[in-house]
Symmetry: C2
Subunit: 117 residues, 2 copies
DNA sequence: GCGTTATTAAACCGTATGGTTCAGCAGGAC
DNA sequence: GTCCTGCTGAACCATACGGTTTAATAACGC
Protein backbone atom coordinates (compact mmCIF):
# COMPACT_ATOMS: atom_id res chain seq x y z
CA UNK A 1 0.00 0.00 0.00
CA UNK A 2 2.39 2.56 1.26
CA UNK A 3 4.93 1.13 -1.09
CA UNK A 4 2.53 1.64 -3.99
CA UNK A 5 1.90 5.18 -2.90
CA UNK A 6 5.60 5.75 -2.72
CA UNK A 7 6.18 4.44 -6.22
CA UNK A 8 3.37 6.64 -7.48
CA UNK A 9 4.90 9.65 -5.82
CA UNK A 10 8.24 8.71 -7.34
CA UNK A 11 6.75 8.70 -10.81
CA UNK A 12 4.73 11.80 -10.15
CA UNK A 13 7.55 13.97 -8.88
CA UNK A 14 9.90 12.58 -11.47
CA UNK A 15 7.45 13.48 -14.22
CA UNK A 16 7.26 17.01 -12.86
CA UNK A 17 11.02 17.41 -12.58
CA UNK A 18 11.50 18.04 -16.29
CA UNK A 19 10.81 21.49 -17.76
CA UNK A 20 9.63 20.09 -21.09
CA UNK A 21 7.05 17.97 -19.36
CA UNK A 22 5.88 20.84 -17.20
CA UNK A 23 5.51 22.96 -20.33
CA UNK A 24 3.48 20.19 -21.92
CA UNK A 25 1.15 20.14 -18.97
CA UNK A 26 0.88 23.89 -19.28
CA UNK A 27 -0.21 23.44 -22.90
CA UNK A 28 -2.68 20.77 -21.97
CA UNK A 29 -4.18 23.03 -19.36
CA UNK A 30 -5.56 25.12 -22.21
CA UNK A 31 -7.05 22.30 -24.22
CA UNK A 32 -6.60 18.76 -25.43
CA UNK A 33 -3.77 18.28 -27.90
CA UNK A 34 -2.44 15.76 -30.31
CA UNK A 35 1.04 14.53 -29.52
CA UNK A 36 2.30 16.27 -32.62
CA UNK A 37 0.92 19.57 -31.36
CA UNK A 38 2.59 18.98 -28.04
CA UNK A 39 5.90 18.29 -29.73
CA UNK A 40 5.90 21.29 -32.08
CA UNK A 41 6.97 24.07 -29.67
CA UNK A 42 10.05 22.17 -28.56
CA UNK A 43 13.34 21.88 -30.37
CA UNK A 44 13.34 18.14 -30.25
CA UNK A 45 12.34 15.19 -32.34
CA UNK A 46 8.86 13.83 -32.44
CA UNK A 47 10.03 10.61 -30.83
CA UNK A 48 11.51 12.45 -27.87
CA UNK A 49 8.27 14.30 -27.26
CA UNK A 50 6.39 11.04 -27.52
CA UNK A 51 8.58 9.63 -24.76
CA UNK A 52 7.84 12.61 -22.55
CA UNK A 53 4.14 12.04 -23.02
CA UNK A 54 4.58 8.47 -21.93
CA UNK A 55 6.31 9.57 -18.76
CA UNK A 56 3.41 11.91 -18.03
CA UNK A 57 1.03 9.09 -18.78
CA UNK A 58 2.75 6.64 -16.46
CA UNK A 59 2.51 9.26 -13.74
CA UNK A 60 -1.21 9.44 -14.40
CA UNK A 61 -0.99 13.11 -15.35
CA UNK A 62 -2.11 12.61 -18.91
CA UNK A 63 -4.58 10.28 -20.54
CA UNK A 64 -4.71 9.51 -24.19
CA UNK A 65 -7.46 8.59 -26.58
CA UNK A 66 -6.83 7.41 -30.09
CA UNK A 67 -8.87 9.01 -32.85
CA UNK A 68 -7.92 7.59 -36.17
CA UNK A 69 -4.19 8.08 -36.48
CA UNK A 70 -4.06 10.90 -33.97
CA UNK A 71 -3.40 10.34 -30.29
CA UNK A 72 -5.18 13.01 -28.33
CA UNK A 73 -3.93 13.87 -24.87
CA UNK A 74 -5.84 15.36 -22.03
CA UNK A 75 -4.52 16.50 -18.70
CA UNK A 76 -5.49 14.48 -15.66
CA UNK A 77 -4.69 16.80 -12.84
CA UNK A 78 -6.07 14.62 -10.06
CA UNK A 79 -2.70 13.04 -9.25
CA UNK A 80 -1.41 16.50 -8.50
CA UNK A 81 -3.80 16.46 -5.59
CA UNK A 82 -1.77 13.60 -4.20
CA UNK A 83 1.38 15.64 -4.53
CA UNK A 84 -0.33 18.53 -2.86
CA UNK A 85 -1.46 16.30 -0.03
CA UNK A 86 2.09 15.21 0.44
CA UNK A 87 3.34 18.77 0.47
CA UNK A 88 0.64 19.86 2.85
CA UNK A 89 2.10 17.62 5.52
CA UNK A 90 5.06 20.00 5.57
CA UNK A 91 3.01 23.11 5.05
CA UNK A 92 2.79 23.95 8.74
CA UNK A 93 6.52 23.99 8.68
CA UNK A 94 6.94 27.12 6.72
CA UNK A 95 3.68 28.73 7.73
CA UNK A 96 4.61 28.27 11.38
CA UNK A 97 7.80 30.17 10.75
CA UNK A 98 5.92 32.95 9.06
CA UNK A 99 3.52 33.03 11.99
CA UNK A 100 6.44 33.30 14.35
CA UNK A 101 7.89 36.11 12.33
CA UNK A 102 4.59 37.91 12.26
CA UNK A 103 4.16 37.49 15.98
CA UNK A 104 7.60 38.94 16.53
CA UNK A 105 6.87 41.91 14.32
CA UNK A 106 3.59 42.59 16.05
CA UNK A 107 5.10 42.25 19.47
CA UNK A 108 7.81 44.78 18.67
CA UNK A 109 6.33 47.35 16.33
CA UNK A 110 9.19 49.75 17.20
CA UNK A 111 11.63 47.73 15.17
CA UNK A 112 12.93 49.60 12.14
CA UNK A 113 11.90 48.09 8.83
CA UNK A 114 14.54 45.94 7.21
CA UNK A 115 16.89 47.85 4.97
CA UNK A 116 16.21 47.30 1.29
CA UNK A 117 19.43 47.33 -0.63
CA UNK B 1 14.39 34.70 -14.28
CA UNK B 2 11.87 32.19 -15.46
CA UNK B 3 14.73 30.00 -16.47
CA UNK B 4 16.10 30.20 -12.94
CA UNK B 5 12.70 29.33 -11.54
CA UNK B 6 12.51 26.42 -13.89
CA UNK B 7 15.88 25.07 -12.84
CA UNK B 8 14.89 25.45 -9.21
CA UNK B 9 11.69 23.52 -9.85
CA UNK B 10 13.72 20.88 -11.64
CA UNK B 11 15.94 20.40 -8.63
CA UNK B 12 13.04 20.60 -6.23
CA UNK B 13 10.84 18.00 -7.91
CA UNK B 14 13.81 15.82 -8.62
CA UNK B 15 14.81 15.90 -4.96
CA UNK B 16 11.30 14.85 -4.02
CA UNK B 17 11.17 12.04 -6.55
CA UNK B 18 13.26 9.68 -4.44
CA UNK B 19 11.66 7.75 -1.56
CA UNK B 20 14.82 7.81 0.54
CA UNK B 21 14.97 11.57 0.34
CA UNK B 22 11.30 11.94 1.15
CA UNK B 23 11.81 9.71 4.18
CA UNK B 24 14.73 11.87 5.24
CA UNK B 25 12.56 14.95 5.06
CA UNK B 26 9.99 13.09 7.11
CA UNK B 27 12.65 12.47 9.76
CA UNK B 28 13.75 16.06 9.70
CA UNK B 29 10.18 17.20 10.19
CA UNK B 30 10.43 15.86 13.73
CA UNK B 31 13.71 17.47 14.64
CA UNK B 32 17.18 18.37 13.46
CA UNK B 33 19.45 15.42 12.78
CA UNK B 34 23.04 14.61 12.16
CA UNK B 35 23.75 13.09 8.80
CA UNK B 36 24.68 9.87 10.53
CA UNK B 37 21.27 9.74 12.20
CA UNK B 38 19.63 10.35 8.87
CA UNK B 39 21.60 7.54 7.29
CA UNK B 40 20.99 4.93 9.99
CA UNK B 41 17.43 3.82 9.10
CA UNK B 42 18.38 3.05 5.52
CA UNK B 43 20.12 -0.01 4.21
CA UNK B 44 22.79 1.97 2.46
CA UNK B 45 26.25 3.23 3.03
CA UNK B 46 26.98 6.42 4.86
CA UNK B 47 28.38 7.96 1.70
CA UNK B 48 25.19 7.28 -0.21
CA UNK B 49 23.10 8.96 2.46
CA UNK B 50 25.48 11.89 2.42
CA UNK B 51 24.87 12.27 -1.30
CA UNK B 52 21.13 12.28 -0.76
CA UNK B 53 21.50 15.05 1.78
CA UNK B 54 23.43 17.05 -0.77
CA UNK B 55 20.63 16.68 -3.30
CA UNK B 56 18.17 17.92 -0.70
CA UNK B 57 20.52 20.77 0.09
CA UNK B 58 20.92 21.81 -3.53
CA UNK B 59 17.13 21.89 -3.78
CA UNK B 60 17.11 24.23 -0.79
CA UNK B 61 15.07 21.77 1.25
CA UNK B 62 17.73 21.21 3.87
CA UNK B 63 20.30 23.45 5.46
CA UNK B 64 23.34 22.26 7.31
CA UNK B 65 25.36 23.65 10.17
CA UNK B 66 28.66 22.18 11.26
CA UNK B 67 29.12 21.61 14.98
CA UNK B 68 32.47 20.12 15.66
CA UNK B 69 32.67 17.01 13.54
CA UNK B 70 28.93 16.62 13.26
CA UNK B 71 26.94 18.09 10.39
CA UNK B 72 23.49 18.94 11.62
CA UNK B 73 20.66 19.16 9.13
CA UNK B 74 17.46 21.11 9.43
CA UNK B 75 14.50 21.08 7.12
CA UNK B 76 13.87 24.21 5.08
CA UNK B 77 10.35 23.75 3.91
CA UNK B 78 9.97 27.14 2.25
CA UNK B 79 10.89 25.85 -1.23
CA UNK B 80 7.95 23.51 -0.98
CA UNK B 81 5.82 26.61 -1.11
CA UNK B 82 7.15 27.19 -4.59
CA UNK B 83 6.15 23.69 -5.58
CA UNK B 84 2.76 24.26 -4.09
CA UNK B 85 2.38 27.50 -5.98
CA UNK B 86 3.18 25.65 -9.16
CA UNK B 87 0.65 22.94 -8.35
CA UNK B 88 -1.99 25.48 -7.45
CA UNK B 89 -2.03 26.72 -11.02
CA UNK B 90 -3.55 23.37 -11.93
CA UNK B 91 -5.66 23.08 -8.84
CA UNK B 92 -8.75 24.62 -10.48
CA UNK B 93 -8.42 21.86 -13.00
CA UNK B 94 -9.46 19.03 -10.83
CA UNK B 95 -11.70 21.09 -8.61
CA UNK B 96 -13.47 22.55 -11.64
CA UNK B 97 -14.23 19.09 -12.91
CA UNK B 98 -15.72 18.15 -9.62
CA UNK B 99 -17.74 21.35 -9.65
CA UNK B 100 -18.97 20.59 -13.15
CA UNK B 101 -19.96 17.11 -12.17
CA UNK B 102 -21.77 18.40 -9.15
CA UNK B 103 -23.57 21.03 -11.20
CA UNK B 104 -24.64 18.38 -13.70
CA UNK B 105 -25.96 16.15 -11.00
CA UNK B 106 -27.90 18.97 -9.39
CA UNK B 107 -29.27 20.28 -12.68
CA UNK B 108 -30.58 16.91 -13.80
CA UNK B 109 -31.64 14.97 -10.78
CA UNK B 110 -33.82 12.74 -12.96
CA UNK B 111 -30.88 11.07 -14.57
CA UNK B 112 -30.55 7.43 -13.64
CA UNK B 113 -27.49 6.68 -11.60
CA UNK B 114 -24.60 5.22 -13.59
CA UNK B 115 -24.62 1.47 -13.74
CA UNK B 116 -22.12 -0.11 -11.39
CA UNK B 117 -20.73 -3.28 -12.88
C1' DG C 1 -3.32 0.76 -55.22
C1' DC C 2 0.06 4.88 -53.63
C1' DG C 3 1.77 8.65 -50.97
C1' DT C 4 1.37 11.36 -46.87
C1' DT C 5 0.50 11.89 -41.95
C1' DA C 6 0.67 10.54 -36.97
C1' DT C 7 2.63 7.75 -34.10
C1' DT C 8 5.39 3.92 -31.84
C1' DA C 9 9.50 0.75 -31.58
C1' DA C 10 14.19 -0.26 -31.61
C1' DA C 11 18.90 0.65 -31.46
C1' DC C 12 22.18 3.68 -30.11
C1' DC C 13 24.83 7.53 -27.54
C1' DG C 14 26.41 10.65 -23.85
C1' DT C 15 25.50 11.94 -19.40
C1' DA C 16 23.28 11.69 -14.88
C1' DT C 17 21.77 8.91 -11.01
C1' DG C 18 22.10 5.93 -7.09
C1' DG C 19 24.85 2.91 -5.30
C1' DT C 20 29.51 0.88 -3.74
C1' DT C 21 34.39 1.00 -1.67
C1' DC C 22 38.41 3.03 -0.01
C1' DA C 23 41.25 6.85 1.26
C1' DG C 24 41.57 11.10 3.73
C1' DC C 25 40.73 14.66 7.13
C1' DA C 26 39.06 17.15 11.18
C1' DG C 27 37.20 16.87 16.12
C1' DG C 28 36.57 14.84 20.44
C1' DA C 29 38.06 11.13 23.99
C1' DC C 30 41.81 9.31 26.32
C1' DG D 1 50.45 11.99 21.16
C1' DT D 2 46.86 7.73 19.68
C1' DC D 3 42.41 6.14 18.62
C1' DC D 4 37.71 6.33 17.42
C1' DT D 5 33.93 9.08 15.26
C1' DG D 6 31.61 11.83 11.58
C1' DC D 7 31.93 13.21 7.50
C1' DT D 8 33.65 14.28 2.53
C1' DG D 9 35.99 13.12 -1.89
C1' DA D 10 37.36 10.26 -5.53
C1' DA D 11 37.08 6.34 -8.29
C1' DC D 12 34.24 3.03 -9.98
C1' DC D 13 29.94 0.40 -11.60
C1' DA D 14 25.28 -0.64 -13.34
C1' DT D 15 21.31 1.33 -14.68
C1' DA D 16 18.22 5.09 -16.04
C1' DC D 17 17.46 9.33 -18.57
C1' DG D 18 16.95 12.44 -22.44
C1' DG D 19 18.08 12.76 -26.72
C1' DT D 20 19.01 11.05 -31.65
C1' DT D 21 18.10 8.27 -36.05
C1' DT D 22 15.98 4.84 -38.66
C1' DA D 23 12.47 1.51 -39.44
C1' DA D 24 7.81 -0.07 -38.89
C1' DT D 25 2.79 0.44 -38.28
C1' DA D 26 -1.67 2.35 -39.07
C1' DA D 27 -5.02 5.62 -40.93
C1' DC D 28 -6.45 9.10 -44.12
C1' DG D 29 -6.55 11.48 -49.05
C1' DC D 30 -6.41 10.50 -53.67
Amino acid sequence: MVQQDSARLDRLFHALSDPTRRAMLRQLADEERKIGDLARPFAMSFAAASKHVRVLESAGLVSRRVEGRAHICRIEAAPLAEAEAWLSFYAHFWSRRLDTLEALLQAEPHLPPPATE
